[in-house]
Each structure stands twice: as structure tokens, then as C-alpha cells.
């Protein structure tokens, strides 16, 4: 069928040709389809270069870096509180969730622990950002597949969560609320009951999405059996989050590797997995996850302990020498910070292990042989945030 049969060699050729500045024409047969950096399917500025035979993808290579902001370098010149303000913007949809693993890593190095109330609120906000994040995924995935109304509903109902996050933290998008040793503030009055209402609305939204989208026959025919990722492949690519669980791997850092500082063991919830590993499974797992997250929030809201929200920490944060890796189950998957400190105001080195980077690295593997429309399903269901890939 094609002149080049070895996938690795082909990928090399492809990557060569798709360099940003030099576009070699290596075409032997077929056509090269370029999507992005400006393309509605790539949620921003990812670029996918797919070599096609007719409508079938021979190979697809994501080209990232259009959103590379040099996080790992910048954080080496910022103090810990400054970093905290910055890293919200890695996964911009699950903003609060970005702060937590970093703060936990710093706390671990300092040997500080947040008071119980702070831990509760952290967990609640963490799950709220998960809801805010994944609810948008559901709408956006519908939009990708042509069901435009789903997107509008997602944006509409997501506002309820954002309102809650905003009224607690002051930031609609990037709260910068977490502190080493606790939180910036306590919750405002009436927040708990409002949050119950918001979560109920989101649960209703999940039902609506299940009716409108996930249960739709056309949606199912577009996603079932498409982009199947077996468990071992998923593990070796380091997929995490719902993408991994949709491949049947029962692994959730909230349950299995929960770092102290988050109180998931105080709620009764369930980790959902799906054996199929296809696009539908990923969507379904995410849908269930949103519901579980809303349930966790509702349970934790009822059991928030009283007390301070800040432990005793020095006013100037200097983290003792050491290395620590803390990862949490973020909306997109495992997000971890490997922090190396030399006892300074600033960290010596921070490796940011973001979920989307690993999740998207599987695209060349999973897209091979798919059809162009399936590529959209695959990309949409893997669910990435550009900032989370490129950092």
C-alpha cells in the first residue's frame, strides 16, 4: 500500500517533514493532512500531521510546543508562593487541582501538615475543579462530534461550579488559594449549602448529558470500538486518569496513592473502570467520574471539621534541602511535581509530570489505521489541555 512500511522510519520521515520551519515534501503516495495549530479539533494549538491513504490514517504525529511557556525554567527563579500563582495555568481547566500536588510536595519537604479543615476544603475544591473540568469535556466532545448543543449546555452548567470556586477563592479560573500549610482563607458564609445546590445541578447535568450525548446512537456508533487502547500499552505509555481506567486498569491515585493532605478516605465513593478501552469507554468513565466527584463533594461538605485553615509555617517560606515527588489524581490524570530543593527561597529544580503529555504521546500508536473522522473521536476522548502538554 505504501512505499514506507516501517512505522518508526515513517514517523521519522514524517517528523522531519513537519518541522515548523522546513516542510519537506516527502510524499510518495497519499496525502498529508495537517490539523492545527489553528484547528477546532485541537482545543487550541496542538498540531497533528496525519499521513493519509484516502481517508485512512497511515500515521499521525502530534507536534506540540506551540504553547510551551518554559514552566520548568521559570519556576527556578520564582519563590514558592509565586510558583503557586503560576502553576494554576498548566491545566487551565482544573486550576485548583494544579496547586495541590505542588503544595503537598513542598509540605512534604518541610514536614508541615495542613490542619484538618484545610485538608477537607482542599479536597472539596479539588473535586470541584474536577467537575468543572470534565463537564466541559463532555460538552466539548459532543461539539467535536457535531452535536453542538452539548457544548452550550456544558458551558451553562459549568458556571455553577465556577461560581462556587469563585465565591470561596476569589478566582473564577485561577484561584491561587492553596498555601503551604493550609489555605489562604476560610470558606465564606453559606457556601456549603450553595455548594450542595450547585452539585445537585451538576448531577442533573450529568443525567442530561447521558441522555443527549452518551446515550445517543450516533454518538455510540462514532465512539464504540474506535481507538482501542489495551491495558499494557496504556501502562507503558504512562496513560493515567480516566484514559487508563477506561482500559480496564483499576488504578486511581486518590484511592491507591493518595498523599496526605487530601481526605478521600473520608468519603464513600467508587472508582469506575471500563473494560473496552475505546473512545466510548473513556467518555463513560469520565461521566461517571464527574458524578463521583460531585458525590465526594457533597459528602465532604457534610463532614467538614471546624478549626483553623492554616498551620504554623514561617512567613518566609524556605524549603529544606531534599527531593520529593508528589502526584495526585488530577482531572486529566496523574499530575506530579518532582521538587528538588537546596534550602532556598526558590526550588532548585521542578520536574512537572503532567498528565496530558503522556496521554497524547500515545496518539501515533492509537491513530494508526484509523479514519480521519475517528482521529477526532480519539483526540477528543483522550482529552488533553494544551498547557498540560507543553507546560
Amino acid at each position: 500500500m505504501t512505499a514506507v512500511s516501517d512505522p518508526n522510519q515513517l514517523a521519522d520521515l514524517l517528523a522531519e517533514a513537519t518541522d515548523t520551519r522546513v516542510n519537506l515534501d516527502f510524499e510518495s503516495e497519499g496525502m498529508t493532512l495537517n490539523m492545527g495549530p489553528q484547528h477546532p479539533a485541537t482545543h487550541g494549538t496542538l498540531r497533528i500531521v496525519a499521513k493519509l491513504d484516502g481517508e485512512q490514517v497511515i500515521s499521525a504525529e502530534p507536534i506540540c510546543g506551540y504553547m510551551h511557556r518554559g514552566y520548568e525554567k521559570i519556576v527556578e527563579v520564582r519563590t514558592y508562593p509565586q510558583i503557586n500563582a503560576l502553576i494554576n495555568r498548566i491545566d487551565w481547566l482544573g486550576s485548583f487541582a494544579n496547586e495541590v500536588p505542588f503544595i503537598l510536595a513542598a509540605e512534604k519537604l518541610m514536614g508541615v501538615e495542613a490542619p484538618p479543615r484545610a485538608q477537607w476544603i482542599r479536597t472539596i475544591l479539588f473535586e470541584m475543579s474536577r467537575v468543572a473540568n470534565i463537564s466541559l469535556f463532555l460538552g466539548d466532545f459532543g461539539l467535536q462530534l457535531g452535536g453542538m448543543t452539548a457544548g452550550f449546555y456544558a458551558f451553562r452548567d459549568r458556571e455553577h461550579v465556577l461560581n462556587q470556586i469563585e465565591s470561596a477563592t476569589g478566582g473564577r479560573f485561577h484561584p491561587n488559594f492553596d498555601r503551604i500549610g493550609g489555605l489562604k482563607d476560610d470558606l465564606p458564609k453559606g457556601w456549603i449549602s450553595d455548594s450542595h445546590v450547585a452539585m445537585d445541578k451538576l448531577l442533573a447535568f450529568c443525567d442530561e448529558m447521558e441522555d443527549l450525548l452518551v446515550g445517543n446512537e450516533i454518538f455510540q456508533s462514532r465512539t464504540r470500538g474506535i481507538g482501542i487502547i489495551p491495558a499494557d500499552i496504556a501502562l507503558s505509555y504512562g496513560l493515567s486518569g480516566a484514559n487508563l481506567r477506561a482500559s480496564g486498569v483499576d488504578w486511581d491515585l486518590r484511592r491507591d496513592g493518595c498523599p496526605p493532605g487530601l481526605v478521600y478516605d473520608q468519603a464513600d465513593w467508587k472508582v469506575w473502570t471500563h473494560p473496552d478501552g475505546d473512545c466510548f469507554a473513556r467518555t463513560w468513565v469520565r461521566l461517571q467520574e464527574t458524578r463521583e466527584a460531585a458525590k465526594i463533594v457533597k459528602q465532604l461538605l457534610d463532614t467538614i471539621p471546624a478549626g483553623p485553615v492554616m498551620a504554623k509555617v514561617p512567613r518566609i517560606i524556605k524549603v529544606p534541602e531534599g527531593e520529593a515527588y508528589v502526584a495526585t489524581e488530577n482531572p486529566l490524570g496523574e499530575m506530579g511535581y518532582y521538587v528538588v530543593s537546596k534550602g532556598d527561597l526558590v526550588p532548585f529544580r521542578v520536574k512537572i509530570r503532567s498528565a496530558s503529555f503522556n496521554n497524547i504521546s500515545i496518539v501515533p500508536w492509537v491513530a494508526r489505521g484509523a479514519y480521519v473522522p475517528d482521529l477526532i473521536s480519539i483526540l477528543g476522548s483522550l482529552y488533553f489541555i494544551l498547557g498540560d502538554i507543553d507546560r
Partner: protein, 166 residues
């Protein structure tokens, strides 16, 4: 040479033309970073619904667009694409720079890979500050842009100062 460009259009007609441009701003879908989501909220959320103002977010390609909202960080790698997509839009065209990153580099002012402001690349009509700006801020920017379009003289089109939402 088009009449509009030459500025030799009779007053009532030019008013009509300005009004039509004012109420029909097609914006193409390109979000870059965090601001993209707030832009999305302004474009697609029933709560903000920028379509009320006549901003239609239908086109996916710049060829049918009047407005591009540069919503988010522009990196050096992306800069050629920004310029190209801007140039591929047909005149008359407008640019809203949304968010600190697009305005000046924002929190990544010291990064090695971020362009310090999209106005180094393309002319900007409206700056919307914030990190990210709330959707309301973008709506305000759109309103200000519409205000300007309503009184625009096409012959003088490129000489005005940019608007800053404050």
C-alpha cells in the same frame, strides 16, 4: 480599489456599512491558552452569549472572519502562525488581544519561549487585560470595538489608537 477603502462613500451609506460591520462580527474559533476557555464561555455559554451583540462564532477558518480574539499566550513558535492567520483574514478585520499574555507576555514575561505581546506581530484594536479576563471583560471589549466601528472612517482605519478595556 474599493469605495470603502478610499473613503469616498456618501455619509448615509457609509453609516449603513459601518452599522452592518458593527452588528455582524464573525469571529473565528481560535483559543490559545487559559483565556480560550473564558473566550469560549463568552462565545458559547448561555450566560454570556456574545451572539447577542452580533458576534457570530461560526467560522472555523479565517477566510470568513472579521475578528480574531487572540486569547492566550503567544509563543515564539506560534508567532508565524498568528501572523499568517491574521493576514489570511479578508479586510476589514479586527483584532482583540485578550489576557495579559497576549497583551504583554503576562506572567511569562521572563520566559525564553514566549512572545511579549501579540502587538509585536499584528496590529491590535482592543486590549482586554486580565489573567484571564472574565467573559464580561471580553464583552466589554467587543462593545468598545463596536462603538469604534460605528464611527469608523475606513480611509483612516489604521490610524487610531488601540482601545484598552479598563
Amino acid at each position: 480599489m474599493g469605495l470603502v477603502e478610499s473613503g469616498r462613500v456618501p455619509k448615509p451609506l457609509s453609516k449603513l456599512l459601518n452599522l452592518s460591520r458593527k452588528y455582524s462580527i464573525w469571529a473565528y474559533q481560535w483559543g490559545l491558552a487559559c483565556c480560550a476557555i473564558e473566550m469560549g464561555a463568552a462565545f458559547a455559554s448561555p450566560r454570556y452569549d456574545v451572539m447577542r451583540l452580533g458576534v457570530i462564532p461560526f467560522p472555523a477558518s479565517p477566510r470568513q472572519a472579521d475578528l480574531v480574539v487572540i486569547a492566550g499566550t503567544v509563543t515564539d513558535k506560534l508567532a508565524p502562525a498568528v501572523v499568517r492567520l491574521y493576514e489570511q483574514m479578508p479586510d476589514p478585520k479586527y483584532v482583540i488581544s485578550m489576557g495579559s499574555c497576549a497583551n504583554c507576555g503576562g506572567p511569562y514575561w521572563d520566559s525564553y519561549s514566549v512572545t511579549k505581546g501579540v502587538d509585536q506581530l499584528i496590529p491590535v484594536d482592543v486590549y482586554v487585560p486580565g489573567c484571564p479576563p472574565r467573559p464580561e471583560a471580553l464583552l466589554e471589549g467587543v462593545l468598545l470595538l463596536q462603538e469604534r466601528i460605528a464611527h469608523e472612517d475606513m480611509a483612516e482605519r489604521w490610524k487610531g489608537d488601540p482601545i484598552v478595556v479598563s
